[in-house]
Amino acid sequence: MPEFIAKPASLKELWKQLPSLPASRRYLAGGTDLVTADNAGAETSECWVDIGDLPELNGVRETSSAVFIGSAVKVSELERSAPVRKWCPVLLAAVPHFASPSLRNMATLGGNAANASPCADGVCALVAEDACVSLALGGKRRRLPLKDLFSGPKRTALKKDELILGFEVPKRPHTGAYLKLGPRARFGISKAAVALAAELSGRRLTRAAVALGSVAPVPLYAARTSEWLAGRTLSAETAAAAASLVMSEVSPITDARSEAAYRREMCGVLLSRALESLAA
């Protein structure tokens, strides 16, 4: 643990404090990545800035066109949020797959994104939800499609001290699924995960977004598969064709958790099952 943990009471105070803090500093939200990294000796910053209770980062709000989920909202709160239940079916489906009940009480979606692991379940679901991420640095704010936040494993487009305020999920009638293959029921990082968001008109997919976890250097938005699916009718043939297309779009590796070939194949199986679950 660093010697010093700053805990500003508001965003305004945060920006005021930052210049006086040690240069080697990191934001602390739920701590489920940071503290474990620290325990493992892999975290060496001199100062943590605790943003977990910042009011600007908390709460789920509904605007006329979007649901705004604060970056410090605990993952377990999502299940209880009426707007999330109504407008974010993929995210909602991903929650039970996220770590474990105890970790979900600590972990935040902002941390899930800032950590930029390709296996992040919350992020993968939000990418399929077509979410945008709101960022702030001092007075400057910007907005990015969430899928563009990631540049590689554990690498993001975040500038130094730039903060994730939250995620905006557009309000649109849609349905979705989140399927994950992990080593066990809980406390397991996925071998492969597929998030699917779909707007349906009868059995026709008017729009689809497919995102995948643990099968690329980043939480992957499968652009080609998503585009191909738009306008198709749900059927076994569509599922099979989408499955083979998505397998060509991912770039999994072999690591301690799984084999590349197995992961690639599972992307197809999981997507095809996700599509079948919509048809059911």
């Binding site: 474990t36 474990s100 080593p183 066990r184 809980r186 071998k191 301690a256 799984s258 197995y262 194949e265």
Partner: protein, 780 residues
């Protein structure tokens, strides 16, 4: 045969305390967080130990410089191989002389695996000790390493134990730590067989994952003797082996075993020499507590194994020939190398009726990987995986129901096996026949509970990607090592009619204190709460080999019963004086001495009479016990699984485990122990595997990466106790602690096959492997 009613099939209805689910004696204290574990006691001036572990799989220490380490403030001692006696010994906590090679040194000038001991530090704080460890400068001559046992046996392979002073290594040049061959030959091999099948099964490195890591504190008593407060299964072996390794007289060492947070075999290993050496050097109390990573890498593991089997069968279901060739990887040292290997055969082969020829070929091989040792199951886990899968394959080949085929071929009451005599633990065994068996009742109960026939028929016709199947596997184990394991117990009586029971037996969370108290209470006609148990302290309690080989209930229980019987006779003698009766007319019941005519006196009166009034003496007795046989417990396991044939994911839907442990002294504890063993085995089957890089560095030595199943993954496990009466056991008891871990690998493998037609030969059955097997079987 002094029991009430020897004979098979007796029920234990007359028993008052035994066979009842009395509360575990230490349960409340443990649940309330009483400071009972090794690390829960505070010591003034305690130093903290840290070890420097080898970063190389195989290297010679050319130079080691500790001067910078000694300069770290707070550092009190740094030990290298130059500072400790060089005594070849084994860390295997077994009876003396241990059947494991003497190939280990407290510290050595050679390291043989990543995680081997290089040096030890004691300092005022853990941080200072760690800092000092990082400042030890070691100049290594890195040697070629060998990680595969089959490579290690080849000519020209690196020789891991090239030191001249090791002893009892059968073939150090070929890295063979132990070998044993055995054959029964009654004619030409496979001549009578209509079908011959052959295959190999493998299991990987596995770790015990006891909740409490290895923790030891060495301090001094008022006489300058070393006291070891340590998390061990074998206090008396710790005393002997530490004395041996450090060249101390046994009388200079006292070993205290407090409550233990699980061992499963890992604490049958004597690793306490180094903390004792640090205490002797500094003359201060020193604590060594392994981190979780150190527990994974530098304590002990299960022997990885490749077991090849070739068996012949006649179309009528007779097994004609069986050949079993097992190769164990014992890692860098040969702890339990011979005995685990022999038990893989001696616990399995006698279970099967093999008409003509039997051959067992066993090798335990050194490699530059972590040290294997005792682990619940002890070779039977490795052996039964092969045997019970082979049984399924043979049954299928001749078109017989696998359960029917098993019934036909298992050993029955009154039958023996040449293997019992030929294969003991590290030496010749003893001849024995089966004196109790509930195996066939267990099979019937399990088949009924899982709905075997109904589900076999139902699951024969399935479509869709998700398939279900049921599989069976049966096994036996032992109850202690016959004519090797010995236990003793002392019982003394107190004024209020309570008794102290002093046992060397090591309760490591198993509940043995409670069941030994139940046995004594049954004999003495009192409640379990009237027996105050102390276990175990080499200064206070009489000798016991310790908790291993499924021995405590059977062997230590026998000692507790004999001691109680001696004390009973002493109590009756005093009671006879008080009541003016003959002792033969008296019995002990409800805390009183009771005469046939109803006259009685309280035990407290007996105690007070003996202590204060008349013919004054302490009512107290010690008794010892060892077994001439090792009656096997039996078990029938049935698993129902669901296999996702597109992802390879296996879900255990139901697991029925029917166990014959004779009389369950405490049915609730017995069930709990079996449930735990089964879940441990399911975790092996589906998930666990230690992984290493190509240079022997452990890759997943943490709970983060080594996946044991969580509570959420635990399937319904249903244990049923099938009561029998073992005439040689205390109140008809046999063992129960290990057997349950051996079932899941074969039962689930067989169930997977029944579900989807894919045979799994290599554990664990991860989705990747299952899917590959399904593709290979061409069933998709």
């Amino acid at each position: 045969m002094t029991d009430l009613k020897p004979g098979n099939g007796m029920n234990a209805e007359e028993l008052k305390v035994v066979n009842k689910p009395v509360r575990k004696q230490d349960a409340l204290g443990l649940a309330c967080g009483e400071p009972v574990f090794a690390d829960d006691q505070e010591f003034k001036g305690l130093l903290h130990a840290r070890l420097l572990w080898s970063p190389h799989a195989h290297a010679r220490i050319k130079k080691i410089d500790v001067s910078a380490a000694l300069k770290v403030p707070g550092v009190k001692a740094v030990l290298t191989y130059k500072d400790v006696p060089r005594v070849p010994h084994t860390t295997a906590g077994q009876g003396y002389p241990e059947p494991s090679p003497y190939d280990t040194y407290t510290l050595d000038n050679k390291v043989r695996y990543v995680g081997d001991r290089v040096a030890a530090v004691a300092a005022e704080t853990l941080e200072a000790a760690q800092e000092a460890v990082s400042r030890i400068k070691v100049d290594y001559e890195v040697l070629p390493a060998v990680l595969d046992p089959f490579e290690a046996m080849k000519d020209g392979a690196p020789v891991i134990h090239d030191e001249p002073d090791s002893r009892n290594i059968p073939d150090a040049k070929r890295n063979i730590a132990a070998k044993f061959d055995f054959e029964v030959k009654n004619g030409e091999w496979f001549k009578e067989a209509d079908h011959v099948l052959e295959h190999s099964w493998s299991i990987p490195y596995l770790q015990h994952c006891a909740l409490e890591p290895h923790t030891s504190i060495a301090y001094f008593d008022n006489f300058g003797r070393v006291v070891l407060r340590t998390s061990t299964q074998v206090p008396f072996h710790v005393r002997r082996i530490v004395a041996q390794a450090l060249k101390l007289p046994v009388k200079k060492i006292r070993v205290i075993k407090p409550r233990i947070g699980g061992g499963f075999g890992s604490k049958q290993e004597v690793l306490e020499d180094i903390v004792a050496a640090l205490a002797l050097k500094t003359r201060r109390p020193v604590k060594l507590e392994y981190t979780r990573k150190e527990t994974f890498v530098s304590s002990r593991t299960r022997h990885p194994a490749v077991c090849r089997m070739k068996a012949g069968v006649k179309s009528d279901g007779t097994i004609t020939d069986a050949e079993m060739e097992i190769t164990l990887n014992t890692g860098a040292y040969g702890s339990h190398a011979l005995t685990v290997m022999m038990c893989s055969g001696s616990h399995t082969i006698p279970m099967y009726k093999v008409k003509n020829n039997i051959r067992f070929v066993g090798r335990s091989v050194y490699t530059n990987l972590p040290v294997a040792g005792a682990y619940r199951g002890y070779g039977a886990t490795q052996g039964f995986f092969a045997w019970e899968c082979m049984m399924d394959m043979l049954a299928e080949r001749i078109g017989m129901d696998p359960v029917e085929f098993r019934r036909k071929n298992y050993i029955r009451l009154g039958e023996g096996s040449p293997v019992f005599k030929a294969m003991g633990e590290g030496r010749e065994g003893v001849e024995q026949v089966i004196t109790s068996t509930g195996l066939f009742e267990a099979i019937q109960k399990g088949a009924d509970e899982i709905k075997w026939a109904e589900k076999r028929a139902k699951y024969a016709k399935q479509s869709g990607p998700v398939r279900r199947g049921v599989g069976a596997a049966c096994m036996m184990q032992g109850s202690g090592i016959p004519e090797v394991d010995m236990a003793s117990a002392t019982i003394k009586m107190n004024e209020d009619g309570s008794f102290n029971l002093l046992v060397g037996a090591a309760d490591l969370g198993t509940g043995s204190d409670t069941i030994l108290a139940q046995i004594a209470a049954e004999v003495l006609g009192v409640k379990t709460e009237d027996i105050v148990v102390t276990s175990s302290d080499t200064d206070v309690t009489p000798f016991d080999v310790g908790a291993y080989a499924s021995s405590t209930t059977f062997i230590s229980g026998g000692a507790a019963k004999k001691a109680a019987e001696k004390v009973r006779d002493m109590v009756l003698a005093v009671g006879a004086k008080i009541l003016d009766k003959k002792p033969e007319e008296l019995r002990l019941e409800g805390g009183r001495v009771v005469a046939a005519d109803g006259a009685s006196c309280a035990l407290s009166e007996v105690a007070n009479t003996s202590l204060y009034y008349y013919d004054q003496h302490q009512i107290c007795a010690t008794a010892s016990h060892y077994g001439h046989t090792s009656p096997p417990p039996f078990q029938a396991n049935f698993a129902e699984v669901e296999v996702d044939t597109e992802t390879g994911k296996v879900r255990v839907l139901d697991y029925v485990s029917c166990v014959d442990c004779g009389t369950a002294i405490n049915p609730q504890l017995a069930e709990g122990q079996n449930d735990g063993a089964v879940v441990n085995g399911i975790s092996h089957t589906l998930s666990e595997e230690m992984e290493f890089s190509s240079n022997g560095t452990p890759l997943n030595a943490s709970f983060r990466r080594y996946k044991i199943l969580s509570a959420a993954d635990t399937p319904p496990v249903r244990t049923f106790i099938i009561p029998t009466w073992e005439p040689n056991g205390p109140f008809g008891a046999k063992s129960v602690s290990e057997i349950g871990i051996n079932g899941p690998l074969p039962a689930i493998a067989n169930a997977i096959y029944a579900a989807c037609g894919a045979r799994l030969f290599d554990a664990p059955f991860t989705p990747d492997r299952v899917l590959a097997a399904i593709k290979k079987a061409g069933k998709r």
